[in-house]
């Protein structure tokens, strides 16, 4: 191996070690019988049991999953619409503003978006009486808003890759524009829509800052709960929770990878 490849190879090793060692350590210590990090008390699953008996955590997890599912679905629909518009309609009134509103959430610091949304909800409450109670509804709205920007970018990028001649061919063959979108465009961008949904789901599930701003009494999401616990220091049941999530993610990503692999294989059959 020449000098270049050795450097790259060692950077790869270092990089992946850097990425994964903390994760592996969390997994290992979730089985540590002792509460302390510095002491190894032997293998045990007591933290998992504690976790499963912790109603607060279970409720928070359930709330987070519900919010994530709803916001991901709505964000995918809105984001696909936005992506379609940006990719297929060349000019319309206010396009510049629209493009800005789609690009900004991708990089805007969360404290700003969170603050802004909370102030909006408070103002709305003063003005029209809704939302009277902040909680799941406001968190969901907030999540939809920033997630749809991500979905829009994914869809727009996919659509610019696809040749417009496919849609023109459908028009030529007798399909009205709305049917063209349904028959041709949507089926082709379906994988992109699925990635968009998964991304929106993860962003929602993971969000701490914005949820903290726009939530209300009684609506504690999983990240909010975890944060309040770990501010005070290490909590071993959080290790267990982390391990479960890591497992779910790995399985999910593994399945997705396997599906894509199978799809690629079927393409080579001639």
């Amino acid at each position: 191996m020449n000098k270049r490849s050795t450097f790259i190879f060692s950077m790869l090793c270092f990089g992946f070690a850097f990425l994964y060692i903390p994760i592996l350590l969390v997994i290992i210590y979730s089985f540590n019988d002792s509460r302390l990090v510095t002491v190894w008390g032997g293998w045990s699953i007591r933290w998992y049991i504690e976790l499963l008996n912790n109603e607060n955590i279970l409720n928070a997890a359930l709330l987070s999953f519900r919010i994530a599912a709803i916001s991901a679905t709505v964000a995918t629909i809105f984001g696909t619409m936005a992506g379609l518009i940006l990719a297929r309609l060349r000019a319309f009134k206010g396009r510049l503003l629209f493009t800005g509103m789609i690009a900004a959430p991708l990089v805007m610091p969360e404290v700003i978006t969170g603050l802004a949304l909370l102030l909006l909800f408070v103002s709305l409450q003063n003005l029209i009486g809704w939302p009277s109670q902040r909680g799941m509804n406001t968190i969901t709205i907030a999540h939809i808003t920033f997630s749809m920007a991500y979905v829009a970018v994914i869809i727009q990028s996919r659509l610019t890759e696809i040749n417009e001649s496919l849609e023109e061919a459908a028009l030529d063959l007798g399909a009205r524009p709305a049917r063209v979108i349904w028959d041709i465009t949507l089926p082709i961008i379906l994988p992109a829509m699925v990635s968009g949904w998964l991304l929106a789901f993860t962003l929602s599930l993971d969000d701490l800052v914005i949820s903290s701003f726009v939530s209300g009494p009684g609506a504690t999401t999983l990240p909010m709960l975890i944060f309040s616990k770990v501010r005070l220091g290490i909590a071993p049941d959080i290790n267990a929770l982390a391990t479960i999530l890591i497992l779910l993610v790995t399985i999910g990503v593994g399945i997705a990878g396997w599906i894509m692999h199978r799809q690629k294989q079927s393409k080579t059959i001639s």
């Binding site: 270049r4 790259i8 190879f9 950077m11 990089g15 850097f18 990425l19 903390p22 994760i23 969390v26 210590y29 990090v37 510095t38 809105f78 619409m81 379609l84 518009i85 297929r88 060349r90 319309f92 206010g94 629209f98 509103m101 789609i102 690009a103 991708l106 990089v107 805007m108 610091p109 969360e110 404290v111 700003i112 978006t113 603050l115 802004a116 102030l119 408070v122 103002s123 003063n126 939809i144 610019t160 417009e164 849609e167 023109e168 028009l171 524009p177 709305a178 701490l208 800052v209 990240p223 944060f227 770990v230 501010r231 290490i234 959080i238 982390a242 999530l245 993610v249 593994g254 990878g257």
Partner: protein
Amino acid sequence: MSGLLISLDNSFRDRLWKNTIVAIPYLWLLLFFLAPFLIVLKISLADPIVAQPPFTPLFQESENGSFSIFTTFDNYLYLFQDSLYFVTYLNSVKLAFISTILALLIGYPIAYGIARSPQPTRNILLLMVVIPFWISFLLRVYAWMGILKTKGLLNGFLLWTGIIDQPLELLYTDTAVYIGMIYSYLPFMILPLYANLEKLDIRLLEAASDLGAKRWEVFKDVTLPLSVPGIIAGCCLMFIPAIGEYVIPALLGGADTLMIGRVLFDEFFLNRDWPVASAVAIVLVLLLVLPIVYFQKRQNEELLSES
């Protein structure tokens, strides 16, 4: 020019479809993204009062029944007078900038290595980069708490091997924040870099080599310039949000790790001073406007050049 575009203008029914599809996301974003910023601006021009909500309203009815607008720039003056804010803004930019550069230096070789790998390996490596991305950001930062604390794993390991004999103060320092930033944002840096490097045509490198360039010259003259869009994308995706980052400094940083995200959060939740928090937010947005606009321009250029 898309046939779809003209066809959508053809009949009332089609135009209705088009207008609906445009209107729904547009209105949503106007209401839930743009309007909030205008409200933040408005509140930054108000006075804090002990009330619900804790700021003076914009329109005030005076005794004879007419409305007047009440605004004050006190909050902005307060920001500029108190040097702490200025220092915090600068510190945030500095921390974000250094983290971004370090992440770039680490991430570029990794992205390059993945892009150069032969097929089955490449997909596996990509998946391995993506998995941490899907795992909760919060939990990954938390993992570092256990490693970096005084009675933590890193110190334990170093003491045990005898490399040091006093535990290092790592947690609650700037160093911990750097590590946390790089760790959390690394996938955001690697993925755009990879997307760009993957498209690199090997024949360009072969041509340069054939014309007499040595390995490092091929990198400097061909690979590096062509990967600039990826570098810019990765840096924007990390630098801009990192300036306003809250979680990492909150969990890993110390009392003297000044970051504007924390200041804003604390100003809001601890001091209950909404107007000042709003002013902090507005100034931060103004600071970021140029990078954000630049990012958006590059995004559009990239998309146009792909189509």
